[in-house]
């Protein structure tokens, strides 16, 4: 078989692994591992030779000896089974040499009784003790696991794990201390860890008893004579120097050593560095450990409970706090993202500005601004909850924007008004589209919230720190990662779409910049995915190696999706046609359709052709309106007050009034005034060089002609206004429906004007109805007024009465409908019924009076 030269590297020694190595593992390391001892204290030629198994089995007939667990300074431990109780136990046999000493036996018994008092979940329980066939034994709880030493050899402890274990040990110690029992030999070999993570303190074999009640201090040692108590490295200074004056604080020192070793993998010997310098962890841990390791016991924590409180007070965070001097930033947001954040904040503010100033912006613009600002804020802040909030807001905003900008326009051609559905899908009711948009927004929000509720996601986003017992620690599970990518690919697509902004603008997707908040949320998500707080495990970023490939696919999606949207957007306008707004569905309207003006005069519909009664009045009215318009324009500076348009409008007004009043002299005078004004303008232009001499000549000629004409017309002084029916009322004073009323009722032409005004009002109502802002009963009233005005103009009171009846019927129907829905009272229905009855009576009486001669209808 040929070797394919993919050389792998041994993770431990760094050498390359030969292809024929067994199981692909570095052979040198494997064999070295097999050569080293896995048992601590399994020194070659150990001090104690375990008794032959047969002897042990014979001495304990009620037990089944399973295997030898270990040999230590204080005896031999076997794993055994109690068939009667069907459970495993640990059988600890003490050195045989002591067994024959009766004094020892007594002490041993006393000690065992004290140990049996200790009933704590984190202390190995004593089931039985005694002597049997020459063996002094303790029957202990069997812990199916390893001791801390073996666990440390099997794998490095993370600070989080260490911080989880220590409080439990403290709890056990505190309990024992409270019961007057010291351990005096706390070391990793005596701390057991089972596969469920339970911590058990064992080997209280050299526990010192402070039995104050007996009045005497009894020293019981179960080690071989001459052996020091405790293990040197873990012993408190006073244990070495003054062994007889040791109290519970020596145990705290030993705990400190174990703690240090757990965190750093080394013993605190000589001048040692604080743990946070040796491992990646919170510097607050240092204070606790160093205090426990104080040489003077008065400086240490005074109880194990105190240590426990301190450690638990750290919370579950074993990671560097943001302010530590660790080289890597605690919340490593990419630097470029941090630089981008203020830009986003500013852009968000700017986007909000027009909405604020004009006091009417669309909600969409406000949302953009908000979304942008949120993103900027989230990128800047290092506070996890703020980030979480910003992320949710962003995802919601993205969903909303996507719905508003992509889905609705595709369905409704342009604009984001749910009520206006044109194009090929006219039939779809606006409510449905609106509901669809809402659903999409809601989905975005819910999705964002759900993502953030998942503990593993939050830890991947750096919002929380995973606890040791978490089932799914970092990194982010595979499927969820892809789901998030799918959600966030839309904003990233939008980012690219925003680049194509101008093109999209043309295609009618309008506010392409509205994609930017979506892009911003995509950016945010991207940054979160890339940045995770430095975990103490310092797992290599190898898990992110597939990134380049994923980014590639995301970018491809980001190009394909907006391109598709673009194509669709270009097609939709071509497919849809602009439908004219349907006419209001009232019969009355159709009747007046023929009389409705057809042409326009200066933008105003002309109700009656010239020559018909009232035309002159209308002309005067129109001229007045035009002058007003010009005055308004002049006020904004778009028109000069002395300019040609202004002069012409004033001339027309004067002429129209003169014609109405039948005063041609006034008209001529007005022409003269106009000609004078024009000459002045021409001279001015000529003086400033923008006009020519011929313009001046033309103006001079026109003036001369006007003066001629004035001389020729026999007329009273133009300024002498003849008394009309109402001189003050000759100029518009009041308004009717927003339009100036030139003549009071009764003057000739008033009826025509009233008809005209009614028509204008109806048109206004129609426009408002198309936009959706029509007042409820306004349309009917306007139609009724129009019909009445026409009837009056034509001198047909019967028609007016009929129109009133139609109106009353419609109002009654409205009232009835509203009453059935519950938005109107019965009295309103009664009023409407009464009004209808009155209208019908009026109609009957007029029909009876019967003026049926049709007047001369104007054309």
């Amino acid at each position: 078989m040929n070797t394919i030269s993919i050389e792998s590297i041994c993770p431990k020694c760094g050498a390359s692994i030969p292809p024929d190595a067994p199981h692909g593992l570095c052979p040198g390391c494997v064999l070295s591992g097999a050569a080293t001892a896995t048992e601590a204290g399994a020194k070659p030629g150990g001090r104690i030779a375990p008794p032959p198994r047969e002897a042990v089995a014979a001495a304990f007939p009620q037990l089944e000896i399973v295997e030898l667990l270990g040999v230590g300074g204080m005896g031999v431990v076997y794993k055994a089974r109690q068939p009667k109780l069907d459970r495993f136990v640990a059988l600890k046999l003490l050195p045989v040499s002591h067994a024959s000493d009766p004094a020892f036996a007594e002490r041993f018994q006393r000690e065992a009784r004290f140990l049996a008092r200790l009933n704590h979940p984190n202390i190995v329980s004593v089931y039985d003790f005694g002597q049997s066939n020459g063996f002094c034994f303790l029957l202990l709880e069997y812990v199916d696991g390893v001791n801390l030493r073996q666990a440390m050899q099997a794998g490095r402890f993370s600070p989080a794990e260490a911080l989880a274990i220590v409080p439990k040990i403290c709890g056990a110690m505190q309990y024992a201390h409270e019961h007057g029992v010291l351990h005096r030999d706390i070391k990793p070999e005596n701390i057991l860890l089972d596969s469920r993570g339970t911590v058990k303190l064992a080997d209280f074999g050299i526990a010192k008893l402070s039995d104050d009640s007996a009045g005497a201090r009894t020293d019981v040692t179960l080690t071989q004579s001459g052996a020091r108590l405790g293990t040197p490295h873990y012993m408190a200074p006073e244990q070495i120097e003054k062994p007889s004056e040791v109290d519970h604080r020596a145990d705290i020192y030993s705990l400190g050593v174990v703690f240090y070793e757990l965190l750093t993998g080394e013993l605190p010997l000589g001048r040692f560095a604080p743990p946070s310098e040796k491992a990646v962890l919170d510097s607050r841990v240092d204070a606790i450990v160093m205090r426990a390791l104080a040489k003077e016991r008065e400086l240490r924590q005074q109880s194990a409970g105190e240590v426990k409180t301190q450690v638990e007070g750290l919370g579950t965070r074993a990671d560097p706090a943001p302010a530590t001097a660790s080289p890597a930033p605690a919340t490593p947001m990419p630097a470029w993202a941090i630089r981008l954040a203020p830009i986003l904040l500013a852009a968000g503010g700017l986007a909000l500005l027009p909405a604020v100033l004009s006091r009417s912006g669309s909600s969409l613009v406000c949302l953009w601004g908000l979304s942008l600002s949120l993103t900027g804020l989230a990128l800047l802040t290092s506070r996890p909850k703020t980030r979480a909030f910003a992320l949710v807001g962003d995802i919601w905003g993205a969903g909303f924007t996507f719905a508003e900008l992509c889905v609705l326009p595709l369905l409704a051609k342009s604009g984001s008004l749910p009520g206006q559905a044109s194009g090929a899908l006219r039939g779809i009711p606006g409510e449905f589209l609106f509901a669809l948009a809402l659903v999409l927004q809601l989905a975005g929000l819910v999705l964002g919230a759900w993502i953030l509720c998942r503990r593993d996601v939050r830890s991947a986003f750096g919002i929380i720190t995973p606890k040791p017992g978490d089932p799914l620690p970092n990194p982010w599970p595979h499927r969820l990662f892809w789901l998030a990518i799918a959600i966030l690919v839309l904003p990233i697509a939008a980012l690219i779409a925003a680049v194509l902004g101008p093109v999209l603008q043309h295609a009618g997707l309008g506010a392409a910049a509205g994609f930017i908040p979506m892009a911003a949320s995509g950016l945010l998500g991207f940054c979160y995915l890339r940045s995770r707080p430095a975990m103490a495990n310092a797992q290599p970023v190898a898990s992110w190696n597939p990134w380049p490939k994923r980014i590639f696919w995301v970018v491809i999606a980001g190009i394909v999706i907006p391109a598709t949207l673009l194509v669709i957007a270009l097609l939709v306008p071509m497919l849809s046609k602009q439908m004219p707004s349907p006419p209001p569905p009232t019969v009355v309207q159709e009747k007046t359709a023929e009389a409705v003006p057809k042409g326009e005069v200066d933008g105003l519909p002309q109700v009656l052709p010239a020559g018909t009664p009232g035309a002159a009045a209308l002309k005067w009215h129109f001229a007045w309106v035009k002058v007003e318009q010009n005055r308004k324009l002049a006020a904004t500076g778009l028109l000069s007050t002395g300019g040609p348009e202004m002069l012409a409008a004033q001339r027309d007004l004067a002429v129209a009034e003169a014609e109405f009043r039948g005063k041609p002299a006034d008209a001529a005078a007005a022409n003269v005034t106009y000609a004078k004004g024009m000459l002045a303008n021409a001279r001015r232009s000529f003086a400033s060089g923008t006009g020519s001499q011929s313009d001046v000549n033309d103006a001079t000629l026109a003036l001369a002609q006007a003066e001629e004409a004035l001389k020729n017309t026999p007329a009273p002084a133009p300024t002498n206004r003849a008394a009309t029916a109402n001189p003050e009322a000759s100029l518009p004073t009041a308004e009717v429906g927003g339009l100036p009323q030139v003549l009071p009722a009764g003057t000739p032409g008033a009826a025509a004007l009233k008809w005209h005004f009614a028509w204008i009002k109806l048109e206004d109502n129609r426009k408002m109805a198309a936009v959706g802002t029509a007042p409820p009963g306004g349309m009917l009233a306007a139609q009724r007024d129009l019909a009445v005005a026409e009837a009056e103009y034509r001198g047909k009171p019967a028609d007016a009465a009929a129109a009133n009846v139609v109106y009353a019927k419609a109002m009654l129907a409205n009232a009835r409908r509203m009453y059935s829905v519950g938005t109107a009272t019965e009295s309103e229905v009664n009023d409407a019924t009464l009004a209808l009855a009155l209208a019908e009576d009026a109609l009957k009486s007029i029909s009876a009076a019967n003026s049926t001669n049709p007047p001369a209808l104007p054309q």
Partner: protein, 254 residues
């Protein structure tokens, strides 16, 4: 010879200087004469078939030729009294086997050389595999010297580990823990930050504490198996450590 069979149960573990009878000691004690010794020798040869095969192949032979030669070699070892060369007091089985292989190869060369030269004719005295002859005669290149001893020893170590792995894998599979075995295998090299116990914990669905327990037990068992196998091949169990150390040196030196 058939393919390597599953090994019989290992002898009781050696602790604290208690002398335990291993296969090799039995062979040496009986100098390969007794049927018991022959059986033991047979088992050892089966177990270490691969290093010999690879050694023979390394000289440039193809698989088929090498296989035939290996069979021939082992047949010779088992059939003849090869123990004239072995010093029962000192030798380890590995050294013995290597020496036998070299001897076998030199015999082979003589045979081939004689055939090439037309066979039957008496050749001039040439310096062959006889180490004691240092006379400056015609130097024939000893092609077997191109393959160093350490190559054989490396393959020996590999075979040792393969066997321990196989046994361990069987035990774990029998206990229903094949997945554990596969996941925890990498930690047999020792504890290293480059391997993530968190990943392993997740893939097996157990806690990290349980991983540590599992790793510890796996390494312990593996160590026991390796030591047991090594003990089979040394004359005295006190030499187990020395043999292991030597093999580790060979592997490290490459």
């Amino acid at each position: 010879m058939s393919h390597p069979a599953t090994s019989p149960t290992p002898p009781p573990a050696a602790t604290g200087g208690v002398f335990v009878t291993t296969r090799w000691t039995r062979v040496l004690a009986a100098r390969g004469e007794s049927p018991e010794a022959k059986a033991a020798l047979g088992e050892l040869c089966e177990a270490y078939w691969t290093p010999v095969f690879r050694f023979l192949r390394r000289e440039g032979r193809d698989d088929e030729t090498a296989r035939e030669l290996t069979q021939e070699f082992f047949a010779r070892v088992l059939a003849r009294d090869s123990f004239a060369h072995a010093d029962p007091g000192r030798g380890r089985f590995r050294s013995f086997l290597l020496g036998a292989v070299r001897h076998f190869l030199s015999d082979l060369r003589d045979r081939d050389g004689a055939a090439k030269r037309g066979g039957g004719q008496i050749a001039e005295t040439l310096s062959t595999g006889d180490a004691s002859d240092t006379a400056a005669g015609i130097q024939i290149v000893d092609t077997a010297a191109d393959v160093p001893d350490t190559y054989f020893d490396r393959q020996w170590a590999f075979a040792l580990m393969d066997h321990a792995f196989a046994k361990l894998g069987e035990e774990m599979a029998a206990a229903g823990k094949a997945a554990h075995f596969a996941a925890l295998k990498p930690w047999l090299v020792g504890e290293t930050p480059a391997l993530s116990q968190a990943d392993a914990a997740r893939s097996l669905g157990i806690s990290e504490g349980a991983i540590k327990v599992g790793v510890h037990r796996l390494r312990k068992r593996f160590r026991e198996l390796v030591r047991a196998d090594v003990a089979q091949t040394v004359p005295d169990t006190a030499e187990v450590d020395a043999e292991l150390r030597y093999l580790i040196e060979v592997l490290a030196a490459r």
